[in-house]
Structure formats: C-alpha cells, structure tokens
C-alpha cells in the first residue's frame, strides 16, 4: 500500500534555534497519528511545515495525490498547493477564530469550501451545509447565526464541519480540544472519532493531552526539543514508555 503522506528529514530552524529537525515518518490511509510533547518541543512547527503554513528549510513532504500519485508538496506550484489545502486537506486550528470567518454565518462558513471549488447552486450548498451541521450536532436552526454567537465547543465543531465538507483525505489538527472544558472535550472527541472512522480519514493530531491521543491515535510520536524521541503504537508507547522523557510525560498525568 502506498503511504498517503511520506515525510522525509523535515527540518525547520528559527535562526540558530531548532524548530524541528530530522523528522521522518509514513502515514497510511485511514491512520491517525498523534504527536505529543511539551510546549516548545516543535510539534506545532512540524504540523505547520507539513500543512504548508511554514516553509521547512530541508526535507520532503510527499503526498499521494488523487490524479498524479505521490508528489512532493514543496515542489508544487502555489496554486496547486492551495487547491490541495482546500480540497484533500483540512486544518483544524486550536482557536476556532483562526479557522472560521467570524463575520459570516455558520452556513456560509461551511459553504465556503464548496463555493471555492465551484459550487454555484445556492439550494444545494445550503442543503450540504445543513447536513454537515447536523453531523457535528449543531441545530440547523442556528445555520444563519454568526459563529460569534456560538459557544466555544460549537465553534470548534463548526470548524470541523467547515473542514470536512469537501471530503478531505488528510486532516491536520492542532490541539483540537484545547481551551474546552472536559465534558465538551469528551463530546468533541467522541464526534471526531466517529467522523474519522466513518470517513476513513487519515489524521495528524498535535496535542499535549495524552488522553486525546489514547482515544484517537493509532500511532504516537513523542517530540522533545525539536527531535522525535520515541515512536510506536499508541498503547505501546503509553503503557511501556522507553525514553526517559516519555516516561516523565506519562507519569506526569494527573489521576483523579
């Protein structure tokens, strides 16, 4: 099977400081990869390099495109890369305000990606947007409200609907549950797990919350100071951590 995403020796420096270095991995279709680590360990830098928000200094990001097969995303013309990032890719920001248009209604937010790829039938766009709002458990009566009138959890769910509406194959998530209270977090995780499994999505989830990766991720990468210190199946890494830092991380989780 061809990996959906092949990452080779990604390196990003901020002057002399290392953002992330020597990161390589393969992501297969339908697989969910978690990236954990403390603040400043380079996990967000890595995610932004992969998603094309940052330009890495070195390395390759090879994506298995629908038409041409595996291609290095960094070598693509910008137009193609941007098309990719609003069709086959999705990016869920930690703060929904970064990923939503706050002055556009919920329906418009979900419909934007459809219109960006050429949908020009208002009724159809609205129908699809309504379906997706239902899927993320937002009442369709709130469709014409602006996201600013939504709670944090609803905003995050709206952001997910907006991203998934074009049926992407790869979704990048940067702390998708950050800033939400635990009961809302649990609902969101449940929803995400359902969507990811049902749609056969591949996902890369950056988080510092080990419970999130335990629930969602098949495989785990632990980062420290810009380097990957340990990789493996999620349960294996969490239950039998080998690297000293991973052991510290796992033992730091508060028990209720």
């Amino acid at each position: 099977m061809t990996p959906l995403l092949q990452v080779r020796n990604i390196e990003k420096r901020y002057g002399v400081r290392i953002g992330c270095a020597d990161v390589s991995f393969d992501l297969y279709p339908g697989e969910v990869l978690g990236i954990v680590g403390e603040s400043g360990s380079g996990k967000s830098t890595l995610l932004n390099c992969l998603a094309g928000h940052l330009s890495p200094d070195r390395g390759e990001v090879i994506f298995d495109t629908r038409v041409d097969g595996p291609r290095d995303v960094r070598q693509m013309p910008e137009a193609e890369r941007r098309l990719l990032s609003r069709t086959d890719w999705a990016f869920v920001h930690q703060n929904p305000r970064d990923g939503l248009r706050m002055r556009v209604s919920a329906g418009g937010n979900v419909g934007e990606r459809l219109m960006a790829v050429g949908a020009r039938h208002y009724g159809d766009i609205r129908q699809t947007a309504g379906d997706w709002l239902t899927k993320v458990e937002i009442d369709t009566a709130r469709m014409d409200d602006r996201p600013s009138a939504f709670s944090g959890g609803m905003q995050q769910r709206l952001q997910i609907a907006r991203n998934l509406v074009t049926g992407p194959r790869l979704i990048f998530m940067d702390e998708p549950t950050g800033g939400l209270d635990v009961s809302v977090q649990a609902r969101l995780l449940d929803l995400l797990r359902g969507l990811v499994r049902r749609m056969g999505l591949s996902a890369i989830i950056v988080t510092h919350d080990l419970a999130v990766v335990r629930l969602l991720a098949d495989r785990l990468m632990v980062m420290k100071s810009g380097h990957v210190v340990e990789t493996g199946l999620t349960d294996q890494v969490l239950d039998d951590p080998q690297h000293a830092y991973t052991q510290l991380l796992v033992s730091s989780v508060l028990q209720v």
């Binding site: 910008e78 137009a79 941007r82 248009r101 556009v104 209604s105 329906g107 418009g108 419909g111 934007e112 990606r113 219109m115 960006a116 790829v117 020009r120 039938h121 208002y122 009724g123 766009i125 609205r126 469709m143 014409d144």
Partner: protein
C-alpha cells in the same frame, strides 16, 4: 499663472497612460500607479480626474456626471476644473461627448466606439470587505481564488432572501479577473459590455483598471438565484421613460414622492424631442 494642459505635468500623464495601457491589456486587473495629490479631497474623484487628464486632448469634448446628473456640485466643479486647466469644450449631451467622467452611473444613452468613459472609484478591491489583507487579496486574484466572493452573495440570500447587493455588484471580466465596477447600481451592470473604452481610476487607493471595448463582463450569481438588474417599478415622472434608472425624490412631508430619471441629460433630451407623452 497658467497650468500645463489638463493640470498634470507631461511625465505624470505618461506614467498614468502606461498604467492605462497595461490595464487595457489585462482587462479587470488592478494596475498600481503613482497617484498624485490633486486639488480636491480624496473621495471627490481624484482617481477619475487623473485618468481623464491623461486621456484628454485639445479636441475632446468633455462631460461629467455625478450619479447621472450634470448639475451637481461634484460634476460642476470637475467640469470647470478641466475647462480652466485644459480649455477643452464641455457638454451635457452624452452623444456629443468624447470623454465622459462619471461617478456611480453609466449614461442611459448607449455609448459608441469613439467615446471613453472614466469612472471614479472609491475602493477598487472587490474582496476588501471579505479579506482585509491586501497581500492575500492580490494572491487570490493571481491564483483565481474567487470562492469568497460567492460567500458574500450567499450571505445576502441567507439574510435577505435574495442577492441584496444593489450597487458595486461584483463582475467577472473575460472569465478571469473579478472586478468591482465602482458603486454603479447593478441596473447598469449589463451596460458594462460596451463599444466604448471604460477606464477606472482610484486615486486614494492608487489603482487603475480598464474594460476594453466589447469585453465580456459577467455579473456573479447562483444558478438558482440568477443576476437581476432591478430598478424601481415606476415610469419617470418627468419624461415617462420606463427603461431608465430612477431616483426617488421626497416632495413633501406627507409621504409624497416621485420617481425621476437619475440621468438628467437622458430625461431632458426625451422631454425636448417630445417623447414624453
């Protein structure tokens, strides 16, 4: 003291003409130019005046309209400005003019191939209110990413039940650039496909763009909500015209109102020739 012909110095006019030529070569593309300070405030047509100055020749006949009218402050002062600084003939007749500077209207009388229509543009960027970053909107134009424009129309329908944008209605030029036709009423949008050369000048924003004669101009819409160049459902109270864009005029404090042509020359010439029944 005397002015150089049409106020601006020759180098400046050359610079503006280069921008105009580039605009004509790429219909709908906003060409940056080094807009000058003009002896009038921004928002009063500094862009249009500079484009007119660069186009005028001593043989031209010049006409200025402001929302269709020849006799409003803005129109009168710009007309006088060029009478004084260029000594060109001026007219109020659309058919006699060779250069027409306009604010927010296209004349009702169809234009011909030997005329130039110059628009005063306040904000040339159609995506401005959707995406405030200029770097990003330029990239969107460059990569032809215009989905966002439809988000605005979607919001209109979601909120008002129809496309409520009534002026500055976005158009797509030659299947490529999305363009703001300046705040003309959407009633005028079909007239953008014209035998005349149309030039757009935005002074404060330092942009010039153009529609060469017979350029394809498509008003954006949805399949199930097609573009509708609507107008008030009345005939003109003065000349009886049913095909012209109307202004609503309040005539007393008891709710009385009348609808009259916004194009004063069109209305007056219809009354002169006795077409008003």
């Amino acid at each position: 003291m005397s002015y150089n012909f049409a106020y601006l110095d020759e180098q400046t006019k050359r610079m503006i003409r280069r921008a105009i030529l580039k605009g004509v070569a790429i219909p709908g593309y906003q060409v940056p130019f080094a807009s000058r300070e003009m002896p009038m405030p921004y928002g009063w047509g500094t862009g249009g005046v500079q484009v007119s100055a660069a186009c005028l020749t001593p043989d031209d006949v010049f006409k200025v309209i402001d929302q269709g009218a020849d006799d409003t402050t803005n129109a009168v002062s710009i007309r006088r400005f060029f009478e004084k600084t260029a000594g060109v003939a001026v007219t109020e007749k659309t058919t006699e003019a060779t250069v027409i500077q306009t604010r927010h209207r296209i004349p009702e009388t169809p234009l011909s191939a030997d005329q130039i229509l110059v628009y005063q543009v306040p904000i040339p960027e159609p995506l401005r209110f959707l995406e405030p970053r200029e770097t990003e909107t330029r990239k969107m134009h460059g990569l032809e990413e215009y989905g966002l424009m439809h988000v605005k129309l979607y919001e209109d329908i979601a909120r008002h039940g129809e496309i409520a944008t009534a002026y500055a209605y976005p158009v797509k030029v030659e299947d490529r650039y999305v363009m703001d036709p300046s705040p003309i009423p959407k009633f005028d949008n079909p007239k953008l496909e014209s035998p005349a050369l149309q030039l757009f000048g935005a002074g404060r924003e330092q942009r010039i763009y153009a529609l060469p004669p017979y350029t394809k101009v498509f008003s954006l819409d949805f399949e199930d909500y097609p573009f509708d160049p609507s107008k008030a459902a009345h005939p003109c109270a003065l000349c009886g015209a049913e095909d012209s864009y109307l202004d609503e005029v309040i005539v007393d404090d008891a709710g009385g109102r009348m609808f009259v042509c916004s194009d004063t020359d069109y209305c007056a010439s219809r009354r002169e020739t006795g077409e008003a029944a």
